[in-house]
């Protein structure tokens, strides 16, 4: 390295130092000229940990490590996020030992925690034990001028839930499967939609909305329940608001798209990655934009293709900062020029990552 290179690198490191102050990850809040900076804030988002009991006190090490690491890293964020969201599927088969073990790991978080229900948490006892640990299945709160709504979007038809299965264990297993003809599409349901309508009736249309759900509140791929059956009805309730952001888990990958005024962003899992399902659709589809085709994860490095994220909220729009192990971190943020969420780097076709073609 010649002296000029060294100087360049030193400046680079200095710059990094400035951006991060005392934390391990540079959180840079993007401030818009007309925005009130007092209303800018960030929150952490961890999802899909799938804590799985083998027997007794033995749990799957891989899934444990994913959540432990996300919690440890989230605790090091600086500036400190205002709160952390867990996006659902804390457990694999919804049992008390799994939920307890997951809750114990989450208890190390030094932030206020909001939890979202996932189908893996729900279908054993219909969310009863989860509720004892984390509270109501759906709720709303206000924070720095933003109205937050947490939905339980993984409900389904009563007949399937209450009358079809000889045991709670089998019901859980049927819902946990992919491409399972015995499964049933997710939905928010009529009762919860009525609650949502009443909740939103009190909110001014100019107030930014951020909605957390486990399943996408849109119809992506039914075979894997990347799907909410009453998505149109839910979207209709959100549509009158000026700024709506939906953040969902379940899909274990980065997705983003815009439907009307509603921006959709998916979050990563800490447990394992799913491939992009349009490769399985074999027909015309309306999947969110794919700018970085998913390569096969390195099976040696178990955290490869998993991650967690923090969310910068500015002027009622979210920017998701993805912390991706073994990979380049990514940012998907609202682009005011195009009016939709976009990847800050990979939107440019010249910068997109070509898919792996050798095996």
């Amino acid at each position: 390295m010649n002296p000029t290179d060294l100087a360049g690198r030193r400046d680079f490191l200095k710059g990094m130092g400035k951006a991060v102050a005392a934390g391990a990850v540079p959180i840079s809040l993007v401030k818009l000229a007309f925005a009130d900076p007092a209303l800018d804030f960030s929150f952490g988002y961890i999802s899909d940990s799938h804590i799985q009991q083998i027997s007794g006190t033995k749990f799957v090490n891989n899934w444990d490590r994913g959540l432990i690491r996300a919690v440890a890293e989230t605790n090091m964020l600086n500036p400190k996020p205002d709160f952390v969201v867990f996006g659902g599927d804390l457990a694999q088969l919804g049992s008390k030992p799994e939920l307890d073990h997951g809750a114990e790991i989450l208890s190390k978080l030094r932030h206020k925690l909001y939890c979202v229900m996932g189908e893996h948490d729900y279908y054993l006892d219909l969310g009863e034990y989860w509720s004892k640990l984390f509270g109501p299945h759906n709720y709303s709160f206000d924070h720095k001028g933003v109205h937050f709504v947490v939905l339980n979007s993984i409900l389904t038809h009563d007949e399937w839930t209450y009358n079809r299965w000889p045991s709670a264990e089998q019901r859980m297993l049927e819902m946990a499967g992919l491409d399972n003809p015995n499964g049933s599409p997710f939905m928010v349901g009529e009762k919860q939609r009525a609650w949502l309508a009443a909740d939103l009736a009190k909110v001014a249309k100019t107030t930014p909305l951020v909605v957390f759900s486990h399943s996408p509140l849109q119809k992506l791929y039914k075979g894997w329940n990347f799907w909410t059956d009453d998505a149109e009805e839910v979207q209709a309730l959100l549509a009158p608001f000026d700024k709506v952001n939906v953040i969902y888990g379940h899909v274990h990958q980065i997705q983003y798209n815009q439907i009307g005024r509603i921006s959709f962003n998916a979050v990563m899992a800490t447990a394992w990655p799913w491939p992009y399902p349009n490769t399985y659709a074999q027909a015309e589809h309306a999947m969110p934009v794919l700018t970085v085709p998913m390569n096969r994860a390195d099976p040696f490095f178990e955290r490869d293709a998993t991650g967690w994220q923090f969310v910068n909220t500015t002027s009622g729009r979210v920017a998701l900062e993805y912390n991706l192990y073994n990979n380049t971190n990514r940012t998907v943020a609202w682009n005011p020029a195009s009016g939709k969420p976009e990847d800050r780097v990979y939107q440019d076709p010249a910068k997109q990552v070509p898919p792996q073609i050798h095996y």
């Binding site: 390295m1 010649n2 290179d5 060294l6 690198r9 030193r10 490191l13 200095k14 990094m16 130092g17 400035k18 991060v20 102050a21 005392a22 934390g23 391990a24 990850v25 090490n61 891989n62 490590r65 432990i68 690491r69 919690v71 440890a72 890293e73 605790n75 090091m76 600086n78 040696f300 490095f301 178990e302 955290r303 490869d304 912390n323 192990y325 073994n326 971190n329």
Partner: protein, 388 residues
């Protein structure tokens, strides 16, 4: 189709040209190693290599006149400082100063993508300038004393004219470090029993136990995922950085504070060099001091395993005395003592291996088969039994 044929002809011609150039510059690499990568700006010549050796061994380039590069990278110890865990630098107030990290071997360092345990230097040329100025290594305030000597010492003056066509104030650290790097690039060693077995098909080169150990190395032991063996060569490193649960395990609860303080200090690379060797706790942040991201926490460069049997102790801090204990550390899933807590930032490639005692012995035996002929006479520390 035509275009492809044309392209590959050009490529073949180009490869032939490069091969010829490489042959002229350096002897054919030993069995099991690729050609040594030589930067275009610093071609190898016999005179430059000889000059580099002289510089490498010159104790005058330290504040006390007692420490040379060769003091801690001793040719008689496979260019390490075995059996010291951390090397002794200059003497201060009657006491030899020590750093925080185990002296890595120069042998086959020519193949590394980055230098130092945390990869803070991108080349041998860049690396060689730093220990002169490190307060616990050679202790100079700046490089001027070195330049003064090489510009005035008649032997050096003659050599620099011969090698670089430069004399007096035209000689800078660029030439000094280029010569040292050129010498270091000649320190390559392959042709181990493993190389003869694997790349040459000499089935008798390994014992049955070593062959079983090789199978564990590539399968149950998962070693090969980072200590890479390729089709025709083996560097036994992926040139990446991993938290394997050494060093950081002792400071886990302090990691957020240490990392935060480190970032707040906004250290320059030169300051990082001093800080990580002076302060054990900061040292354990590893690659983080350079990358400043979560993935670097407690992570250090994968070392080559060539000649590992003759270079104890092990790991970035020299904290593990024997190869058997190293294997046990990995077998425990990233803790030296079974049952100790795993650190939160452990590389996701590290997990319990479930190796039996005989399998551990086999693996250690395999590691002993990686010694090159030039170092085969050094004592092997691999067979020391661990007290458990």
């Amino acid at each position: 189709m035509k275009r492809i044929v044309f392209g590959s002809l050009v490529a073949a011609g180009l490869a032939a040209t490069i091969a010829v150039a490489a042959e002229r510059a350096a002897p054919a690499p030993p069995l099991g190693l690729p050609p040594v990568p030589v930067p275009a700006a610093n071609p190898q010549t016999p005179e430059k290599i000889a000059l580099g050796k002289k510089l490498f061994e010159d104790k005058r380039f330290s504040s006390t006149g007692q420490v040379a590069c060769a003091t801690c990278h001793d040719a008689k110890k496979a260019f390490t400082d075995s059996p010291l865990a951390t090397s002794e630098g200059i003497e201060k107030a009657g006491r030899k100063l020590t750093g925080t990290r185990n002296a890595p071997t120069v042998v086959n360092a020519a193949y590394f993508d980055t230098m130092f345990w945390d990869g803070r230097s991108p080349s041998l040329e860049d690396q060689s300038q730093h220990p002169f100025l490190n307060p616990v290594e050679m202790g100079l305030k700046d490089h001027q004393p070195i330049l003064k000597i090489v510009r005035s010492d008649p032997e050096y003056a003659k050599a620099f004219v011969q090698v670089f066509g430069k004399k007096g104030s035209a000689i800078s650290m660029t030439e000094v470090t280029q010569a040292i790097a050129a010498f270091e690039r000649t320190q390559v060693a392959g042709d181990s029993p493993f190389d003869r077995y694997y790349f040459k098909g000499d089935l008798k080169a390994l014992t049955d136990q070593q062959k079983r150990g090789f199978d564990i190395f590539v399968n149950k032991g998962r070693c090969v995922s980072c200590h890479v063996i390729e089709q025709t060569t083996a560097l036994f490193t992926d040139n990446r950085f991993h938290n394997i649960g050494v060093g950081i395990n002792a400071v886990q609860n302090d990691v957020p504070a240490l990392a935060g303080e480190f970032l707040k200090a906004k250290a320059t690379l030169a300051e990082v060099d001093k800080k990580v060797l002076a302060d054990k706790r900061t040292s354990e942040l590893g690659r983080f001091a350079i990358s400043r991201g979560f993935e670097g926490l407690g992570a250090f460069k994968t070392s080559t395993l060539r000649n590992v049997a003759v270079t104890p102790p092990y790991m970035h801090d020299g904290s593990i005395k024997t190869l058997r204990e190293v294997v046990v550390h990995y077998n425990n899933g990233g803790v030296t003592k079974e049952g100790d807590p795993v650190n939160d930032f452990l590389s996701s490639g590290i997990r319990k291996l479930g190796l039996t005692d005989p399998e551990i012995d086999d693996l250690v035996a395999f590691l002993e088969a990686l010694t090159s002929p030039e170092y085969a006479s050094l004592p092997s520390a691999a067979r020391v039994e661990v007290k458990r």
